[in-house]
């Protein structure tokens, strides 16, 4: 299982990685939408966790481009953002996201949402 976290905050990418450390998955990271598209194309992740407000290219633009790309459009996306304005949520939902989690969030909430989309298998105890 390969999961891509796209967020301009290293702290959030670290928290996402920490949330998944007990599960059998490989983490990839990107700090903005442009990097996110490049990493998505090269790594072909099973799931993308995407922030909205980022420099260079924001999450909404990345999501739009992702959905326009035949090779990437089927990758499920979970939004992870502080943006909860209802019009924006509706706009983003219509672009095609599998779920939406508003910051602040608990790690268990993130795991629950990811686990509903892709199979999360716990790592075997060492």
């Amino acid at each position: 299982m390969k999961i891509l976290s796209v967020d301009d905050s290293k702290t959030i990418r670290m928290i996402v990685g920490r949330s998944l450390k007990n599960y059998d998955c490989v983490m990839c990271e990107a700090a903005n939408g442009e990097e996110g598209l490049a990493v998505a194309a090269s790594e072909m992740p099973d799931l993308i966790i995407l922030d909205i407000t980022m420099p260079v290219m924001d999450g909404v633009t990345m999501l739009t481009k992702l959905r326009e790309d035949p090779a990437l459009k089927s990758i499920p996306v979970v939004m992870l953002t502080a943006e909860s304005g209802r019009e924006n949520v509706a706009h983003i939902a219509r672009l095609g996201v599998r779920d939406y989690l508003v910051k602040p969030f608990k790690e268990e909430q993130l795991i629950e949402k990811i686990g509903r989309i892709v199979p999360l298998v716990q790592k075997a105890a060492a």
């Binding site: 502080a82 943006e83 304005g85």
Partner: protein, 243 residues
């Protein structure tokens, strides 16, 4: 996904928190740009928390409720002016967002207290600011002393404070903390029709602890206590920037 669904439908589908009714009504009234003192007072009176905050703001010298000389919401709104009452009302959701952020991401409960009850920062401290612009213009600044910033940063990334010394990481944590808090506040503004966008966070060291106000707008400093440390949040907003 159906084009007939609206934002609230998607919010329910994704399990997002509902916007508190009192907050929504006050913010919408502000956005309508023709609120009267009576209308503001009526809505505030229907919300216990807003009522308590407006009364407290209208009695700045009172130690507790027994000392209040202004005891009704109508009189409090008259005293504070519509702008003052609106600011107090709008900062309610901000205080909730800050409390939820600290509890969820830092596992640190915090309590909001009047800023004047806390020692002001007279030495260099850190200000983490996120501005917003659009139909509403303003900014939110978190002001805290460096050891407090390190304590909070360490809690957010799950380290001991003595192991959290990297300046870049501290800047990133404070920026994200400010983003989360202001993002929630901005979403409430957008839901009321005051659409605006956030600027990237700016983290700076400063000796200037003066409360700044947005031109033509309103400003409030809110104090917070967490264990034996305290910090301030300054909010300044002009909800009528395009009036």
């Amino acid at each position: 996904m159906s084009q007939d669904l609206v934002g609230e439908d998607f919010a329910k589908q994704f399990g997002l928190d509902a916007v508190p009714e009192g907050v929504r009504r006050v913010t919408e009234l502000v956005a309508s740009q023709n609120a009267s003192t009576e209308e503001i007072a009526k809505i505030i009176s229907q919300d216990k928390e807003l009522t308590a905050r407006v009364l407290r703001a209208a009695n700045p010298r009172a130690e507790d409720e027994c000392d209040y000389t202004i005891t009704t919401v109508d009189a409090a709104v008259m005293r504070s002016g519509i702008g003052g009452a609106i600011l107090v009302a709008m900062s309610g959701p901000l205080i909730r967002a800050i409390g939820k952020t600290f509890e969820t991401m830092l596992a640190r409960p915090i309590e909001s207290v009047p800023a004047r009850s806390l020692a002001a920062f007279t030495e260099e401290h850190i200000a983490a600011e996120v501005a917003f612009a659009g139909k509403a213009v303003g900014s939110v600044q978190i002001r805290l002393e460096k050891p407090t910033a390190r304590l909070f940063g360490a809690a957010m990334v799950g380290l001991a404070p003595e192991d959290f010394e990297n300046e870049d990481e501290l800047t990133d944590v404070l920026g994200e903390l400010a983003n989360i808090i202001v993002g929630n506040f901005k979403s409430n503004l957008c839901d009321a029709g005051l659409t605006c966008k956030l600027s990237p966070p700016v983290i700076a060291k400063t000796n200037d602890s003066k409360l700044r106000s947005q031109e033509g707008g309103l400003a409030e400093r809110i104090g917070f206590v967490s264990g034996d440390v305290h910090f301030f949040v300054d909010v300044c907003v002009n909800p009528w920037s395009q009036a």
